[in-house]
Symmetry: C2
Subunit: 409 residues, 2 copies
C-alpha cells in the first residue's frame, strides 16, 4: 500500500555523474540490488549518519573514508550501495566485509580504497554474502551511464520493503546559470531518522565548499528526514549523502545560499514525504503542525508524541475522528507546566479541541469528512510561545503488522 | 485474545468493606458498568493518579476530595467507578458532572460529598450520560455486600476493552495476626501508566498511617503498574487507590513494613501483569530485564525503548527471533556514551548478542524455540553499572489494529 500516485520524476543528467545498477542476487535473484554512483574529481561531498549506537559497519566505514578524503583534500569518487542485507550487528567481520567491498570496487575502477563510501540496507544481523556482492561489482560498473533513466533504476536498486522508487529534482537559476539538484531515497519501515534517513543520495552540479555543504545538509535534513516517522524505530544504517560536483556555478554569497537552500529543502522534503507516503502499510500521509510552543524542541516533542501514538495511528487508519486520542497523546507529551486550557487542536479546517474539551461548533460529520481524505493535516497550537515544527507520519494498518510479522519468512 | 489462563482468585471478605455493582447502561445495556466500594470510617486511603496534562474530570475531583478528607482527618467512604465513558476532555461540564455524581451518592448513603471519590473509564470526549448514571446509584447501593463474589463482579464492572476481570489477593501474618490484601484492576489499551494504571483498587485490613501508606503505594506502583506498557499511550484517567481499613493489625515497625511491602508488591505486580496478559490483541507476555545500567532510569529507558518498538512487537507476534530489531531498538535508546561492544542480549536462556554482533553459539533453531512460547523473557545487560529494571509488555498483533480501528464504531 502507498498513499497517492506519485511517479518518478524526469531527472536531468549531471555532468560527470554516472550511475550503474546490477542484479547481484544478494537476497533474492532477478532484482536490482546493487547501485554504484560515480562522482567527478571536482565534487565536494558531505554526509549525515544514524545516531543509533549499534550503527552498521558500512556507516562506520563511510564516515572513516569521508574523513580520510577530507584530510587528503580529495573527493570520494564512488558511493557503493546494496540492498537485501544491512551489514549491521555483524561486529568485526562486518567491518572487514565493508572495507573489502570498497577495496575491490576501487581496484576495478582504478581509484583509492578511501574514495569509495559503502552503504547497506536490508535485514540486520546476517553476514554480507561477499561472493555474490563482489561478483556484482563488474556488471554494475559496466552499466555506468549519465542518462535520466539511470536515476530511476538506482532508485529501484536501493529499496527494501518500499513499494516504489523515490526521486525528486529541482532546477533553479543562480545568476544567469542553471543549477540542478537530483535526489533519490529509500525507506518504508524502521523509519524515525535521527540525523538522516535510511539512505538518501542527493547530487547537484553547483560548486559548494565543504563547510557550507555540511551546514546546508544538516539544516535541510533537520527539517525533512529528521521530521518524519513511520514507526519510531531509528535504523542502524541511516545515511543521507550530498555531492556538489562543482561543474556548475559557485554558491558563495548570502543571496545565492538562500536561493539554493530553499531549492535543496524542497528536494529533501519531497523525498522525506515520499518515504512516508510509502511507509509500511500506509494509507494516509499525516502532517502534524505544532505551533505556539516555547521552543522548537517542545514543538517536536509534542508532534512526535502524537505521531508515535498507536491509538492515534489506528484511528487514522480507521478514518475515525477519535479526537480524544489526539488530546490524550498531547497531554502525555514531555512538556512542563502545561496549561491544557490554552491548547487548540484542529483537524484540517475543523476545530476539535479548545478550553480543555471538545470545541463548541464541532460535529462528528465535519471531523469524519476530513478523516476520509488520504492527506490529513493536524494543527496543534499550544498557546505558550512562538516556535513551531512540522512532522510527517503515516497510519498503523493491518498491513503494517502483516509486513513486519512476515518480513523474514 | 489474552495470554495464559488465569482465573479470578477467591477473595476473602474484609471487615467493613462492601461492594455493589449495577447495570446502568452507560454505554451498552445489560453489562455491569457501575461499581461502588464502601470503606469503613477507620480506613486510611491513598492514591496515585495519571501525569497526563489532559487529566480527566474524575481524576481532578478524586484528588480534591481526598485532600479535603485528609485536611478534615476523615476517611473517604466510597469509591464510585463507572466504565463506558471516561469523562475526559470534557472541560468544565465534566467537572460539574463528576461532582454531581458524588453529591447524589453521598445524599443516598448519608455521607459528605467529599467522602466520595469518582473514577471513570471508557471513551474520551463524550459527555457523561448523567441521567442513566444517577439512576444506577440506588441499585448499586442496594447490592452492597462483603461476600467474595462481589470482588469478581466489581472486577467485571470496571472493564472496557479488557476480556477478563483481574484480581489478586495475598494473606500474610503480622506477628500472630492475619492481614489480607485484595486488589482489582482494569486496563487493556492506552496502557503506559505514569504514576498509576488505568484504575486499580486495593484494600487491606491492616492499620497503616497515611504517610506510610502513601509511601508504600508509590514504591510498589513504581515497580509494577509504572513498569508496564501495551502501547506507550498514557491514559487521561489512570488512578490506583489503596485503602487500609484499620480493622486488622497495625503496620508500624521496620520488620512489619518490610513484610507488608513484600506482600503488597506481589498483589500490585500480579495485577499489573494481568493487564499485560489481557493487553489489546496480546498473544505474548514479554518480560524485559535490563541490568548492569548506570542508573535505574537508564535501565528503564532501554527497557521501554525496546518495549515500545513496533518492529520488536510485530516480531514477537510472529514468533520470529529477529534479534536485529532488538539490537536496533537498544541502540537508539537515550543512553549517552553507549559502548555497544559490552552489551549482552539474551532471549530466555539463549544468548543472542555479544561483542557488537550475533553471539558465537547462537542458532536460529534455539531462538525460535524460545519465541514460540507465550511467556518470554528478554535480558539486556549493558555492561556499564549495577542498576536494573524490569518492564512487562505485550506484542503487536492484527487484533490490536482491529480492536483500535473498530473501537468507536
Amino acid at each position: 500500500m502507498a498513499v497517492g500516485n506519485t511517479s518518478f520524476p524526469d531527472m536531468p543528467p549531471l555532468n560527470g555523474v554516472r550511475l550503474g545498477v546490477a542484479m547481484a542476487g544478494i537476497k533474492k535473484p532477478n532484482r536490482r540490488d546493487m547501485v554504484v554512483i560515480e562522482l567527478p574529481e571536482t565534487a565536494t561531498v558531505s554526509g549525515v549518519f544514524t545516531q543509533n549506537a549499534f550503527c552498521a559497519a558500512p556507516v562506520v566505514v563511510a564516515k572513516q573514508h569521508l574523513e580520510q578524503c577530507r584530510a587528503d583534500s580529495r573527493s570520494p569518487r564512488f558511493w557503493l550501495i546494496n540492498t537485501g542485507n544491512a551489514n549491521a550487528g555483524t561486529g568485526e567481520a562486518g567491518l572487514r566485509d565493508a572495507r573489502a567491498s570498497c577495496a575491490e570496487l576501487a581496484k576495478q575502477a582504478g581509484v583509492n580504497e578511501h574514495d569509495v563510501l559503502p552503504f547497506s540496507t536490508g535485514v540486520i544481523g546476517e553476514p554480507l554474502p561477499m561472493e555474490r556482492l563482489l561478483a556484482g561489482l563488474a556488471p554494475a560498473l559496466e552499466t555506468l551511464t549519465c542518462d535520466g533513466a539511470a536515476w530511476q533504476h538506482a532508485g529501484q536498486g536501493i529499496l527494501t520493503t518500499d513499494t516504489r522508487a523515490k526521486g525528486a529534482t529541482v532546477t533553479l537559476d543562480i545568476g544567469d546559470q542553471a543549477v540542478t539538484i537530483n535526489g533519490i531515497a529509500k525507506g518504508s519501515g524502521m523509519i524515525k531518522p535521527n540525523m538522516a534517513t535510511m539512505l538518501g543520495f542527493v547530487v547537484t552540479d553547483a560548486a559548494i565548499e565543504a563547510p557550507l555543504l555540511d551546514r546546508l545538509l544538516r539544516e535541510t535534513v533537520d527539517r525533512s528526514f529528521n521530521c518524519i516517522t513511520v514507526d519510531s524505530d531509528t535504523s542502524t544504517n541511516d545515511a543521507c549523502m550530498i555531492a556538489a560536483t562543482g561543474t556548475g556555478p559557485q554558491i558563495v554569497d548570502e543571496e545565492q545560499v538562500s536561493i539554493f537552500r530553499h531549492a535543496l529543502q524542497q528536494v529533501m522534503t519531497e523525498l522525506a514525504q515520499a518515504i512516508i507516503r510509502d511507509g509500511e502499510g500506509a494509507t494516509k500521509l499525516v502532517t502534524l503542525q505544532v505551533g505556539e510552543a516555547n521552543s522548537r524542541q517542545e514543538a517536536l516533542d509534542v508532534a512526535f508524541t502524537v505521531a508515535h501514538s498507536p491509538l492515534v495511528k489506528t484511528a487514522l487508519y480507521a478514518s475515525d475522528a477519535n479526537w480524544g486520542r489526539i488530546l490524550a497523546a498531547v497531554g502525555r507529551a514531555p512538556v512542563s507546566d502545561f496549561d491544557v486550557n490554552r491548547v487548540v487542536i484542529e483537524l484540517g479546517d475543523v476545530r476539535l479541541v479548545e478550553h480543555g474539551g471538545r470545541a463548541a461548533g464541532y460535529t462528528e460529520a465535519a471531523g469524519s469528512a476530513v478523516m476520509a481524505q488520504s492527506d490529513i493535516t493536524i494543527r496543534i497550537n499550544l498557546g505558550r510561545g512562538e516556535e513551531s515544527a512540522t512532522v510527517w507520519t503515516s497510519d498503523l494498518s493491518h498491513d503494517y503488522v502483516s509486513i513486519n510479522a512476515d518480513y523474514r519468512s
